[in-house]
């Protein structure tokens, strides 16, 4: 009886040690991959930082109307944010490659799925970036046009446009990430529709007189005015 127990213990210990030993190369590979990716990430970060500084990336972003990026960034520098993000991505890729080195079916499947998801993340980031730029541009266009029309609520209108475009961009990004697609679609439809209706009511009621005056002015314009109109200022 004791002999049988001893054999069973011996077998399980051997199996455990064998399994552990078989995992060791994987661990070494993981540590090696992590170390290499850390060095690579540091080099990439330094090169990127220098490159972005040389093209005055922070000033460029501010000029393109992406100054909020500075607020999210370490030491208010989007250059540091971009270089840090890319470096973190390199380390994450190294980690995933290291995990894949275990060669077990589970880890391989996990890594494959994560890598398959990367294009979605990149797509979502691009959508958010373009959305932010478009929101900023359109909000500024609306603000200037509304001020030039002497509208008292120009800022409100501009903020409304910015929120609308940002909401649209976030909804698109979430769809790209395949996060609660149904809920996002529904919530977006309700939210967007609600905002548009509220704005339409606010602007429609608020600028009824303005629209009437503008239409009357257009109707009164003689047809020949088109060519002569600008000349009076010169």
């Amino acid at each position: 009886m004791w002999k049988q127990v001893q054999d069973a213990l011996h077998q399980s210990s051997t199996a455990f040690i064998t399994k552990l030993a078989s995992l060791l190369p994987g661990f070494v590979a993981l540590i090696l991959a992590l170390l290499i990716s850390l060095v690579l990430a540091w080099i990439v970060a330094v090169v990127l930082r220098r490159l972005l500084s040389s093209i005055h990336f922070d000033e460029l972003l501010a000029r393109w109307g992406l100054s909020p990026a500075a607020e999210w960034s370490p030491r208010r520098s989007p250059t540091l944010l971009v270089s840090g993000t890319i470096a973190a991505a390199v380390v994450a890729a190294g980690l995933l490659i290291g995990v894949a080195a275990f060669d077990s079916e589970l880890t391989s499947e996990l890594v494959r799925n994560i890598f398959a998801y990367v294009p979605n993340i990149i797509g979502a980031i691009l959508v958010l970036l373009v959305g932010t730029i478009a929101a900023r541009f359109l909000a500024r266009s609306v603000l200037i046009a509304a001020v030039n029309l002497n509208l008292e609520y120009a800022r409100l209108l501009s903020a409304g446009v910015k929120v609308l475009v940002n909401v649209l961009a976030v909804a698109m990004a979430l769809e790209h990430l395949r996060i609660a697609v149904g809920i996002v679609e529904l919530a977006f439809g309700i939210l967007f529709g609600g905002i548009v209706l509220a704005l339409a009511l606010a602007v429609g009621l608020g600028s009824k007189d303005l629209v009437t005056k503008s239409l009357e002015r257009e109707a009164r314009k003689p047809s020949g005015e088109a060519v002569e109109e600008p000349l009076r200022h010169l």
């Binding site: 000029r63 109109e229 009076r232």
Partner: protein, 414 residues
């Protein structure tokens, strides 16, 4: 029964070549057209002249009957002509600049020595006033700019920005550098074309007009002004000012960018020859301005566009603007000149989208108009010339500021 034979109107191809091309974009009456043609025929040296008459601008009876057509005269040909139709979406300035472009193209086909562009109607015009623009061209001048009788509230964009800026930058005191009535030699036209051979500026008559004065003042071209009389201005639409600023100042600032090396060397301004000079007392304009509304536009801009102006104007200028009280509303000339210079610099640096930039200038421009109108509310209209001279001198005095900011935009930001 045989129909009565009508003399055919000659086409540009049939005419072949000419010395002078006159483009009429204005609606001259039958009598005015006849007197214009008669005056053009008396020009010295009997040049071959082609007169293009815009069909769209002309009143229906303005096209002469075949029997009266001056086209029979071997030295003068009257050709009915229509500029390209840009469709209903084209802005007035686009239509206008396309018409100019079309005249220049026709002139190039005819290999003319000079162009004469007429786009204005004059009050109590002397018969044949158009020949005042043409004659100096045949006497060797390259640019004949128009001079009109000044009125307080007319030509404000020209008086407040285009004219003093041209004077300060290029050193020539031209009252109306962008016309619209102009005489241009072929030589000058070719030089202007050569200085703007890029995608951004070709194919736009307004860009071409904006480059005329800079090129003519900078090179060895002979420039003069011809006094034409009182121009008729239609009533002002103040709500369209932002589009107008974009369409007019965009080409002016681009021309400024292209000629930067040249204007940085020009120090003082000098007068140009003015032909047929006449200084009638400035007449009172019947138009009144709603100063309170203009001040309100400025204040609205100050409240809502400050974030945008902060990217363009230095802190000291913003502070000066902030200090302006609505009760004693006045924008000093030096401040105005610096604002225009800062906008020109921001246009060059693309600090923000260029259309946004120029449209955001509108409340400031309306503020300047309010300040100017308030000054002239009870002032003697004869003081107008002195007032505009003071503004031009302020532009000249602030030119070192422009040069410093242009050269070192980051380092020199007072």
């Amino acid at each position: 029964m045989d129909s009565i034979p009508q003399p055919a109107t000659p086409t540009i191809e049939q005419i072949g070549s000419a010395d002078l091309l006159v483009g009429l974009l204005t609606d001259l009456s039958q009598d005015d057209l006849a007197s214009t043609c008669a005056a053009l025929r008396t020009l010295p040296g009997t040049p071959r002249i082609v007169v293009l008459q815009d069909h769209a601008a002309a009143a229906p009876p303005a096209v002469p009957e075949a029997s009266d057509m001056p086209a029979r005269d071997s030295s003068l040909f009257l050709v009915p002509w229509s500029p390209r139709n840009l469709g209903a979406t084209a802005t007035p300035v686009e239509s206008f600049s396309t018409a100019y472009e079309s005249i220049f193209e026709t002139g190039a086909k005819l290999d003319v020595r000079a162009f004469c562009l007429v786009a204005s109607n004059l009050e109590n015009a002397e018969p044949g006033w158009v020949s005042r623009l043409a004659q100096p061209l045949l006497e060797g001048f390259d640019l004949v700019a128009p001079c009109y009788a000044r009125r307080r509230f007319e030509g404000l964009l020209n008086n407040s920005i285009v004219s003093p800026l041209t004077r300060s930058l290029y050193g020539k005191r031209i009252q109306n550098p962008m016309g619209p009535d102009l005489g241009i030699s072929r030589h000058l036209y070719q030089d202007v074309l050569a200085t703007g051979q890029d995608a951004a500026t070709t194919g736009n008559g307004m860009h071409l007009l904006a480059r005329l004065a800079p090129v003519a003042c900078g090179d060895d071209f002979k420039v003069c002004q011809a006094y034409l009389g009182s121009r008729v201005y239609p009533p002002v639409d103040w709500t369209g000012v932002s589009s107008l600023l974009t369409e007019i100042l965009g080409p002016v600032f681009l021309a400024m960018e292209k000629t930067a090396a040249r204007w940085q060397q020009t120090r003082n301004s000098s007068p140009v020859t003015t032909l047929n000079e006449s200084t009638p007392p400035p007449s009172q304009s019947s138009e009144t301005l709603e100063i309170a509304r203009l001040v309100n536009s400025f204040q609205l801009g100050m409240r809502d566009l400050r974030e945008i102006w902060r990217l363009v104007l230095p802190p000291a200028t913003l502070f000066e603007l902030q200090k302006i009280s609505p009760d004693k509303f006045r924008i000093p000339d030096e401040l105005w000149a610096k604002i225009i210079y800062d906008f020109a610099l921001a246009h060059r640096l693309r600090t923000i989208n260029r259309t946004h930039l120029l449209r955001s200038l509108a409340p400031l421009y309306l503020g300047w108009v309010a300040s100017y109108a308030r000054e002239f509310e009870n002032a003697d209209p004869r003081a107008l010339a002195r007032r505009l001279e003071r503004l031009s001198l302020a532009y000249e005095a602030c030119k070192p500021y422009l040069i410093s900011r242009w050269r070192w935009p980051d380092r020199f930001n007072p």
